[in-house]
Symmetry: C2
Subunit: 683 residues, 2 copies
């Protein structure tokens, strides 16, 4: 039987066992920055042991501990401070609290100790007590000694000169204790914040092969949402799914020179199987143009076989040696790659833009992300293609642009390499026609962009249309004083609500676990970014309503149960729209049209993206990158060694162009400008 269960069974009426000693369990809160979650210090000591906070500070290696207010104890243990006892500690607290144990207790395991609050009593032998606390790797402290002088290092190790062996053993583990919640500020340590919300929000985990990451259900479900929407859309466009092998022979990979040069440095090679070496190394696809196109040539014989539109959902490998980053730069990533072949250039052009518009919808309508559509410069286009169109996003915290999805017009370059041609409709005696091709892809990278843009210091903020759970139902306001009848009504309402919302097709999570306090649960589900929390308490039941709390704004609104099927989806849309608007306003405010090089650099340093008249020459683009780098403080870019000096790259030539005045000069070289181009530091 667990100690929690035993606890309630002892009535206050019973007399204390003779020779038993009363024990106090106190909660202290160390001084903690607002942006961080404090780590409570639990002090378990004999009632009459004096526990000087100076000593606690030193032993727990914490700053200015003070007796915790109800606010903290409620968040962690679901009760006011006066009601706290160690019986409320569970495995969940293992890494989230520090425990200090009075050495006079651990030294005396035979004695019976009494732990009590106003509701009941618990009687344990010292052995049981120490055994129970061992889960929390307590530090055994001799409270009788004086705290050390300031100058001495405040070490984690106990300075006690009378500690039991066991105490020594368990106290050494204390340094491992981890923190829950987000402990860094998005604006102060962006990379640290990003890593914490992804891992603590249970979206992703780090893997023991560098550059590879585990997509947990929290993020994979978002990918599934994108998949199911986009897959349905391209099927309407008669695109069909297929699967081509992940392996490419080097001869095929090398067929298209520019193309392979673009990828060769990042190609992973299989050279061995079992214990035998392969005759010829085999590459893992970095993308599938050269994998697919020999078969396009085989399958396409007549213009009646056109258009051919294939897509595959797969993973590709690009062994980058730069600093990897979850979602944004990974050595293996999930994506979709579409490949189409058309009879005419016009059809190919139309396909490229049709797909780009679908991508835009994914960003705007699913991920609540604003993007700028445009064309890549020659320098930045897809290697081997004719031209590349793109959706470019923006990360406000770093002020950097990020490529979100691209749709390429390959023209006839690959079809000539791979001889993908059809007989001339004008007659078999006329020369064959080479097909016009497109390829296009969107990857799990977009999940990272979504997280970076919307999430905050409380954790993830996930737009409702892609969230694994769109809402979580949590019973509240149940205390030990609540009558069984009312309690049942509350849980009954929760379960009916759950069933009803699920039948509406809403993705619902519930947290009926009675052991945890609502406050604790709120924090957990906020960390995971669930868009709407539905609180159901006795009052709500009485009013036949629930309290809806928005994750993004914290705004609360009471919703009548009778209207929930209508109101909740409306609330989801409201949340989606305000997330999108907020992100769009920010992007718009940080996208500045400039005409001079001085403004150009100044705005980059203001974390802006610039749109400038440009000459379109590759050498000029090189200059821009070089010279815009020098003035970079670099501070917030250290995460990315892709370009440590972080000069500005061209992001795209926006489809929506400011008016180019006659005689307008290039922002950098002063030669005649051919268009406005969007530049920025980028990922």
């Amino acid at each position: 039987m667990s100690i929690e269960a035993t606890f309630s069974m002892l009535s206050l009426a019973e007399p204390l066992p003779s020779g038993s000693v009363e024990v106090k369990s106190l909660v202290f809160k160390p001084k903690t920055p607002k942006s961080q979650t404090p780590v409570p210090i639990i002090v378990v000591a004999k009632k009459d042991t004096k526990t000087a906070s100076k000593l606690i500070a030193q032993e727990a290696n914490a700053k200015d501990p003070r007796l915790a207010r109800d606010e903290l104890t409620t968040q962690f243990f679901g009760c006011p401070a006066r009601k706290f006892t160690i019986a409320l500690l569970s495995a969940k607290h293992k890494d989230t609290v520090k425990v200090l144990l009075d050495s006079t207790i651990s030294d005396d395991e035979a004695t019976e100790y009494v732990i009590s609050n106003e509701e009941g009593r618990l009687v344990l032998t010292g052995k049981q007590l120490v055994g129970f606390l061992s889960t929390f790797t307590p530090k055994v402290v001799d409270f009788s000694k004086a705290p050390e002088a300031k100058k001495a290092p405040a070490g984690g190790k106990s300075q006690s000169n009378k500690v039991t062996k066991k105490a020594k053993k368990i106290s050494s583990a204390l340094e491992d204790a981890k923190l829950i919640g987000v402990t860094v500020d998005k604006n102060k340590d962006f990379p640290g914040w990003y890593q914490q919300i992804l891992t603590k929000g249970e979206m992703l985990d780090y893997y023991n092969v560098s550059g590879c990451y585990i997509l947990r259900p929290g993020s994979y479900t978002i990918w599934e949402q994108i998949q199911s929407w986009f897959d349905a859309e391209i099927k309407k466009d008669n695109v069909r799914n297929a699967y081509f092998p992940m392996f490419v022979s080097s001869s095929v990979l090398n067929k298209e020179k520019d193309h392979v040069e673009g990828f060769a440095p990042e190609v992973a090679w299989v050279t061995r199987a079992g214990s035998s070496d392969l005759d010829e190394p085999i590459a893992i696809r970095p993308t599938s143009e050269t994998v697919m196109y020999p078969y396009f040539a085989k399958w396409i014989r007549s213009h009646r076989d056109l258009p051919l539109k294939l897509n595959q959902w797969n993973s590709v490998v690009r062994w980058e040696f730069k600093h990897p980053q979850p979602f944004l730069r990974t050595r293996e990533f999930l994506w979709q790659e579409g490949h189409t072949a058309h009879l005419t250039a016009q059809e190919a052009e139309d396909e490229v833009l049709r797909i780009l518009d679908l991508y835009e919808k994914i960003f705007n309508d699913l991920l609540a992300l604003p993007i700028v559509k445009g064309k890549k410069t020659e320098k930045e286009k897809f290697a081997g293609g004719f031209y590349t169109t793109t959706c470019e996003g923006y990360i406000p915290t770093t002020g950097r642009g990020i490529q979100c999805a691209t749709s390429h017009n390959l023209g006839q370059n690959f079809s000539k390499m791979f001889n993908i041609s059809v007989e001339n409709p004008a007659g078999s005696d006329k020369p064959k026609l080479f097909v016009h091709q497109t390829s296009w892809g969107i990857s799990t990278r977009v999940i990272g962009v979504m997280v970076m843009v919307h999430s905050d210091n409380k954790g993830l903020v996930i737009p409702p249309r892609v969230a694994q759970f769109q809402t979580v139902i949590i019973p509240v306001g149940l205390t030990t004083k609540t009558s069984k009848d009312v309690e049942e009504k509350v849980f009954d309402t929760c379960k009916k609500l759950e069933a009803r919302l699920k039948s509406d097709g809403i993705r619902v999570a519930t947290d009926y676990e009675q052991y945890y306090s609502p406050g604790w649960k709120f924090a957990q589900w906020e960390l995971k970014g669930v868009p709407v929390r539905l609180e159901v308490g006795p009052k709500d039941v009485a009013n036949e309503s629930v309290l809806a709390v928005r994750r993004d704004t914290g705004a609360k609104s009471s919703i009548k149960l009778a209207e929930i099927d209508k109101k909740l989806p409306e609330l989801f849309d409201e949340i989606h729209n305000s997330l999108y608007k907020k992100a769009k306003d920010t992007f718009d405010a940080h996208r500045v049209v400039v005409h001079t090089w001085k403004e150009f650099v100044h705005n980059l340093n203001q974390k802006n993206i610039v749109v400038a008249p440009w000459c379109g020459r590759m050498e000029c683009e090189e200059d821009i990158k070089k010279e815009s780098a020098t003035t970079d403080s670099g501070e917030e870019f250290v995460v990315d060694e892709k370009a440590p000096s972080m000069g500005a790259k061209s992001l795209c030539i926006p489809f929506k162009q400011p008016k180019l005045e006659a005689g307008e000069k290039c922002v950098k070289c002063g030669q005649p400008a051919v268009n406005f181009t969007m530049f920025g530091r980028s990922y």
Copy 2:
């Protein structure tokens, strides 16, 4: 303008150009086995050239060519023999006909030649004519010479002693001419048949990396159907999808000894990226137990974290060095792998069987395949697991068993290796509990089993519930005499029907291409295995009905348009059920209970699976394999070098057991039998 188009423009009224020469185009049919599609021989010669069939036979390297009947010309060219002219040849016929060209034509390119049938005339210079025919790599023949004596080799090369250079050039290509349709008999050359229906049915293509194959939409869609059904089912069971990396460090891979020994010989190793060698070779997952379980250990801390149920849809690599076979044995294959962790042994056991039952439903209810559920022997179980349950199928043509899907109970073996444990609910002072795990998978292999069981000599037969297209609409009965009005009515009916069926959620293909004859279309769609062909002709339109033709039986039935939404799905179920019944009856008839070794071997050679009383000893299983091999003719097993001598393996210990009589002896060694075990030659 294409030659076809030009053709109709010349009226018979116009006088022939002076000096023009009339040309005849004749269609010959070589003697061809019923199971195969004939390759028509088109003879293009001056009207008065004698074309001896002996000479045609020799030059076309064909058997007993005879003037083709309307049946053949309709199938290939959509017209009776008398209406045929070369104007009906198009690129589609490139590899499906042989063309013999009168050398007196190719020698005289200046002359104008007149080609006519009862509808019109076409006038071409010899140059144009030869140019047009060159698409079909004609063989230039001097019909004036005598056929060779029998003994001389009937070679593809022209024996003509007066052939133009051009003729020499183009005639050499003739040997490459391929055949359409299935040209081998399922029962005579099973491997050849299997390869042909997969490639010609456009389900799969061979790839230039051995052991890897391309899944074209025809097969990938079947996988999508299986995915969407199974994915929904496991989500009801609260299994959540995730994605773990494809790479495994060797240290992690080697953690579970038995397990790694089972896979090591087939593991593909990445040793190089770009041009630099990796510090440590990295494996590509053959399966993900060792990839996932270190993280199970990290994520599972308390019994409140259980059960943990994860699944992923991915591809794995097993670099087999045995003879690869499409779907059945490939070096990369698509599958789903589920991995669950439970607090109790009972929960794990329940999960194993719950999943096995879902697999059974995939076979019975989607793929129309009968299977036998049972437990694997120690020798055949999953390496490192506790025990393995399986769905075992049967391929009638070879009489071999085939493993279709497995669900493993891993017990606590992996949880102890990876230290996946939770605190003891009986108290933190009690020893930790190691979790009980399961893993389970089904792969694209099942598509191969489905094809081998149901398909026939006309091509693929796909069960309706998984078919890419469940039905194809083909307009019929339209001739040049059909009035525009009637023709429009037919096409209008087709399109209305198409829209209506699609809105019913039925997967519909259409073939409105007016250039091809219905007969030709029928053959094409039968090759692809579309379950139901809907023919719409003028009569049907008049009767407000369509003619439904079953792919599996060829049975025809007229369906009133008013009832189609109801009747067509019913027909699909009918087809599914009869496919399943046929396969089940066959499997049942070939699963024989035997008690003596003599019966055992005899039945194997009758292409049966045997169920025999067995002692359960591994050495005995080895003996059975060795001694059952000797008597194997081997003929139909050459495709599989996995076990060239092809002895019998244990397939499973069926859950449904015949009654084991007291004192029953092992079929092989005579020791006491512990159960009935199913043995068979297998894939």
